[in-house]
């Protein structure tokens, strides 16, 4: 396995090396305007070096060694630029390969024309196939119930923690791929082809088939092109101007100055920054449908977070069992145990565990005689019937009242208190008489409050949506520090929040997976669909998380910002580099004409050609040195914008200035050893 991976890595490196040479084709070179100027300059220098007679008397002096050295360094500069792009490309290809292995598959029971169920992989299912759904199954694919009824846990998909009843007829007949059948059995018709085609589309994107430049990149390219044009004017006008001083400026030094001043660093790395940006997102197991989606993620200022799955674990856990007034605690714990002994839902298991931990014990014999009562849509309660006919039930206050149980005031108050703290209270009854209260709690994901604080720091507002009642929602919202929450929310509410925020000119993101989330996913500026979700949802979203972890939304924001910061930082680096390069080349270029300009030669590099070559070498090798930064992205800290700006100005602005001064000097000292 390891050797396989190694072999693959070697293969991609080879692809990168080959790619770096194909970049020398004129048609390929012309795609990157800044580097194309370097390309043309290299051709010019090559001609000057090898065929000086072509230029007749236009050359001031001729120095074969010096010109050859410049030509070679220019070729290296071009090769480095090509290599960085090819490397990012190869990495993308590797990612695409690994993506292909990520198609989530489950087993399904397909009913053939004879009516017999056969086990097949979900990817083999096609629209219109009939499948059999049984208790405990994961629904393989979006489908519509055509016969029977099932209770489905959709919490992982829709955030709805209440089990849902799905049956033929009416509008509650569609089951979502990835949801779990809690009880019942049904036949269903597949309503969508598997998401494989969708995944293929993603793979194409990652492989670089249709990578488009984003608005930001286009704007930056415009800036770089203009800068290049102006610098060409600045440099070429120096030829007649030095003629005014009866001085022939050296063509080699002039070309070198132009190349050094051109924003070659950012120009060379721009394509790989873009490709690496998309690749980085893929490494988080998130697939972006376009580079634009990644950039937009960096601009978000409102996140719509589903409570279930994003902020809380998703399953509620029993944390307390409170006896009703006058009831023996031991007895109540035992009753709780009985109510959940055969309940396989997370709520049931946790109730049983809690009761056991508090000392309730039940004979295996007794357990085997219990008759489980499943949660159904009608009764909305679950529990067990004991062999002596005693019925033990647990359910919400509303369900109990509907079943005729009267709820005394003290219990009602406890129920209210539990709701206030964000918990879900269940009433525990024996033969319709209240025994006590089981308090279920949403377990907040560890560290989520810190993440939300981080977002707040970055200036991003969070809105929590949940199907829970107001009190529960309010308590959790307060606990984790979200800015706003919407209780008893339906998918329609999400849509409404998105529309509201957008009308206030905010950029908003949401996660979703259900088909009913699709409109909101499409409407949101960034819609992150879960891979476990329906194909409709994935189609509507502009990003898909292969791990189906809604918390990723927060990471996606950071990745988007990182992409932009990398571009900005390297642009600044490129420009401040230029200042140092001026100080190295200008005194060298005019040293024989204006010796007084040696004051500017703060690096003290002599003789003049050495200064020119050192600067040119620095200009070339800074590209491969920065490839890791371009590929990895600039480190992003979740702080406010001014702090970030201050930090990046120091790091890449001042850093660019100093590193160029020091780098050029070091190279000059090294080259000086060989320079005669």
């Amino acid at each position: 396995m390891l050797s396989e991976a190694k072999k693959q890595a070697r293969r991609y490196r080879r692809i990168a090396v080959i790619g770096s040479f194909t970049g020398f084709l004129p048609t390929r070179a012309a795609r990157n305007p800044v580097m194309f100027v370097v390309y043309l300059s290299t051709v010019l220098m090559g001609l000057v070096t090898l065929l000086p007679w072509l230029f007749g008397g236009m050359l001031g002096g001729y120095n074969f060694d010096f010109y050859l050295e410049i030509t070679v360094i220019l070729l290296l500069t071009l090769w480095f630029a090509n290599f960085s792009e090819a490397l990012a490309d190869a990495q993308g290809k590797a990612n695409a390969e690994s993506l292909k292995g990520l198609r989530s598959e489950t087993e399904a029971r397909r009913i053939d024309s004879e009516g017999a169920a056969r086990t097949v992989m979900s990817s083999e299912l096609r629209k219109g196939d009939l499948i059999l759904l049984k208790e405990g199954d994961t629904v393989p694919i979006d489908s519509q119930v055509v016969e029977g009824a099932v209770v489905v846990n959709e919490s992982m998909m829709t955030g709805e923690s209440e089990p849902q009843v799905k049956e033929t007829g009416g509008d509650k007949d569609s089951v979502l791929g990835g949801t779990i059948i809690l009880s019942g059995e049904a036949k269903a018709r597949v309503s969508n082809d598997p998401g494989a085609t969708f995944l293929d589309q993603m793979i194409n994107l990652v492989e670089g088939a249709n990578r488009q430049k984003t608005q930001n990149e286009i704007a930056l390219t415009q800036l770089l092109i203009t800068l290049s044009i102006v610098l060409i004017v600045v440099i070429t006008t120096l030829i007649p101007i030095s003629g005014f001083f009866r001085f022939a400026v050296d063509i080699g030094a002039l070309v070198a100055l132009l190349i050094c001043l051109l924003p070659t660093t950012i120009g060379a790395l721009l394509p790989s920054i873009r490709i690496a940006g998309v690749n980085r997102v893929v490494r988080y197991n998130v697939i972006a449908k376009s580079g634009k989606a990644v950039e937009t993620a960096g601009d978000l200022d409102v996140l719509l977070l589903d409570k279930t799955g994003t902020i809380t674990m998703g399953n509620r856990v029993a944390t307390r069992i409170i006896p009703a007034r006058g009831k023996d605690e031991k007895e109540v714990l035992l009753t709780a145990y009985i109510s959940s002994a055969l309940d396989t839902t997370p709520e049931g298991v946790s109730t049983m565990r809690l009761a056991y931990a508090r000392g309730a014990r039940l004979d295996k014999q007794v357990i085997s005689e219990l008759k489980p009562v499943k949660f159904t849509a009608e009764t909305r309660m679950s529990g067990s019937d004991m062999p002596d006919g005693t019925s033990v039930r647990k359910g919400s206050v509303e369900a109990m009242e509907r079943a005729g149980t009267s709820v005394p005031e003290d219990i009602r108050r406890k129920v209210h208190d539990a709701s206030m703290e964000g918990s879900t209270p269940l009433l525990l009854t024996k033969n319709g008489e209240i025994e006590g209260l089981i308090v279920l709690q949403d377990i907040v994901k560890p560290g989520i409050d810190a993440r939300i604080a981080e977002l707040k720091n970055m200036g991003i507002r969070t809105i929590m949506v949940t199907g829970d009642n107001f009190l529960t929602a309010q308590s959790i919202a307060k606990k984790v520090g979200v800015d706003e929450f919407r209780a008893e929310a339906t998918p329609k509410d999400k849509m409404e929040i998105i529309a509201r925020e957008q009308s206030k000119n905010h950029l908003i993101a949401m996660t979703g997976d259900g088909s009913n989330d699709a409109p909101a996913l499409a409407q949101a500026d960034v819609g992150l669909a879960m891979n476990s979700g329906t194909a409709v949802a994935k189609d509507a979203a502009n990003m898909v998380d292969l791990d189906s972890d809604p918390t990723k939304l927060i990471e996606v924001v950071a990745l988007g910002k990182q992409l932009l910061i990398t571009r900005g930082a390297l642009t600044t680096f490129s420009i401040t580099n230029d200042v140092a390069k001026y100080f190295a080349i200008i005194p060298a270029m005019f040293s024989s004409l204006l010796p007084s300009l040696d004051v500017l030669n703060i690096l003290q590099i002599y003789p003049a050609p050495l200064a020119v070559l050192s600067t040119l070498v620095f200009n070339a090798i800074i590209i491969p040195l920065l490839i890791p930064v371009a590929m990895r992205g600039v480190r992003f800290q979740a702080t406010d914008a001014p702090t970030l700006l201050r930090r990046n100005m120091l790091l890449y602005g001042l850093g660019g200035l100093l590193s160029a001064f020091i780098g050029i000097k070091l190279i000059a000292m090294f080259l000086g050893l060989f320079y005669v």
Partner: protein
């Protein structure tokens, strides 16, 4: 530098800031259409004018309409001025019976004043009639200032508006003249008359001096020109010697008044901007940046001028008090230097010094102001340049904080970016290309000067023309090359004026149709002091990148001694 000199400059800076603040707020209010006490006096006049011209002042123009109105108006004004100059011999108010000018000089002069440049290749008192001084020169001083201001206002509207409109050009243009330029100029002209500046239709008089000589004393409607010359950052003098002539600048009070006047609209418009976009904090930051750039330029020049003049080295001259060459003994070295830097940084171009006798380092600093053009720059055009710098700085700094860059909440689209980068590109090209052409054509062979000084003069000339500044070394034109330079400079002045303005209106148009995003405080970079630092450094580095080689060959080498 003595304490008194420091105090003189500190006083000027403080007064400039105070005056421009109040003027800026006032201007902001009138462009927002707020009522003012002048409504009673000028309202009927303006309405009459609108009716006369058949204009609906409430019609909101998009950027193309605005640009069309702008260009048409300017074309008409240019033609009128040209005709006035061309026929001056046969027009009235010519008591000294001056003849006509060569047509190319008429054209260059019209272009020069139309573009707020005021490069003068004529001697006013000898070659222009009073009618020309009033009908062509002073007239264009008002309109060119108003036109520049109006562009800045349109840009501000582009930032504020969301419906694609920039206001009504004709209304903006009219009220700029009636509410800002005319009232202030009238009051100031009267003060100038009181201080001794001539204002008469009578011709020159001949005075008999005590040593029995005869001296012709030229006079005319000077005071009325003088006020708008500074208020509108024009800078072209009535007399050939401009502000170095006592009749244009008779006393210390007039000198101070002129300096304060020329800085008040460039700085004031930044305050107007803050007022109109409802972000006074932003305005204070931009004023700090521009004032910072100005003070850096001033410090460099003061450093150079406080030392001895290298050309006088070896002569029996005591230079302990600094470089007094080219300066009036009525003013201190600091005051004179302040005048040079303020005149180049505001694109007024009427310094009360002789440029060719200043230290080359001061000249470099002055040129830097004309290369930046936005520190604070000319009336209106300064803010226009500054806002383009802000767009570019916001773009890069926005990327550096990981958001699609926003200008006060409006995303910087590729359209805005495209126009902004072309805008920045124009200035260096229209300086460097003509310089290169001049030296290649051989018209710039100034054999009488050392090459370095000649090159500095040449570079200065085109920098001044491109920046629409108007100050000049003055000895470039010879018998052989007059036509070449007049034609070349006219092209540079017109391009340097109308190309950036066209792009600026296009930027305003795109911005005006962009919906702003609501920003949470911690996301807005533009309001943080660190952005001011970034902008300050960005402007310096960008200008250095484009102009360092020529500055090194010209004034820097001159300063360092070749």
């Amino acid at each position: 530098m003595e304490f008194i000199e420091f105090a003189q400059m500190a006083f000027l800076v403080v007064v400039i800031l105070v005056v421009s603040y109040y003027l800026g707020i006032y201007m902001g209010r009138i462009y927002l259409g707020k009522r003012s006490f002048l409504d009673r006096y000028f309202g009927p006049l303006e309405n009459g004018l609108y009716r006369l011209m058949g204009i609906n002042p409430r019609h909101e123009m998009d950027w193309k309409e605005y640009l069309k109105a702008f260009l048409l108006t300017n074309a008409a004004l240019g033609i009128i001025a040209f005709l006035v100059l061309f026929f001056q011999q046969s027009l009235p108010l010519n008591p000294d019976h001056v003849g006509s000018l060569p047509p190319l000089l008429d054209f260059a002069t019209a272009a020069s004043f139309l573009t707020n440049t005021n490069l003068q290749h004529y001697t006013g008192e000898l070659q222009l009639s009073y009618f020309s001084q009033m009908g062509a020169i002073t007239f264009l001083m008002f309109t060119s200032a108003a036109a520049g201001i109006v562009v800045a206002v349109a840009m501000i509207r582009g930032i504020v508006n969301q419906n694609g409109t920039l206001g009504n050009f004709y209304r903006d243009f009219t009220i700029t003249i009636t509410r800002v330029l005319l009232p202030i100029s009238i009051v100031e002209a009267l003060i100038f008359v009181y201080l001794g500046i001539p204002q008469t239709y009578q011709g020159a008089v001949v005075a008999h001096t005590i040593n029995m000589g005869a001296q012709t004393i030229f006079r005319g409607p000077v005071a009325s020109l003088e006020a708008i010359k500074f208020l509108g950052t024009n800078g072209g003098g009535f007399y050939g010697a401009d502000s170095a002539y006592p009749f244009e600048n008779p006393t210390a009070l007039s000198a101070y008044l002129q300096l304060i006047t020329e800085a008040s609209i460039p700085f004031g418009l930044i305050f107007s901007y803050g007022h109109m976009v409802r972000n006074p904090r932003q305005a204070r930051m931009l004023v700090t940046v521009t004032m910072g750039l100005f003070l850096v330029g001033l410090a460099i020049a003061l450093f150079a001028e406080s030392g001895p003049n290298a050309l006088l080295h070896g002569l029996p001259i005591n230079q302990v008090a600094g470089n007094w060459a080219g300066k009036e003994s009525r003013f201190s070295v600091a005051e004179s230097t302040f005048s040079l830097i303020l005149n180049t940084y505001t694109q007024t171009g009427a310094p009360m010094v002789a440029l060719n006798q200043m230290s080359p380092l001061s000249v470099a600093s002055a040129m830097f102001g004309m290369e930046v053009q936005g520190s604070p720059g000319g009336a209106g055009t300064g803010l226009m340049n500054l806002l383009v710098y802000v767009v570019l700085a916001v773009f890069i700094s926005g990327l550096m904080v990981g958001r699609t860059p926003e200008f006060l909440g409006k995303k910087i689209s590729t359209g805005v970016m495209k126009y902004s980068v072309i805008f920045i590109m124009i200035h260096p090209i229209i300086i460097l290309a003509p310089v290169a052409i001049s030296v290649m054509s051989g018209f710039a062979s100034l054999s009488s000067l050392p090459p370095n000084e000649a090159f500095t003069a040449l570079l200065y000339e085109f920098t001044s023309a491109a920046a629409n500044n108007g100050s000049s070394f003055g000895y470039l034109l010879t018998q052989q090359n007059t036509s070449f330079f007049l034609a070349m400079e006219s092209i540079v002045m017109l391009t340097g004026r109308f190309a950036p303005i066209t792009l600026a209106l296009a930027i305003a148009g795109v911005m005006s149709s962009t919906k702003p995003l609501t920003q949470t405080k911690s996301l807005a970079v533009m309001d943080d002091p660190i952005f001011a630092v970034f902008l300050f450094l960005f402007i310096i580095v960008l200008s250095a990148l484009l102009f360092l080689p020529v500055l090194a060959l010209g004034p820097l080498a001159g300063y360092l001694g070749g």
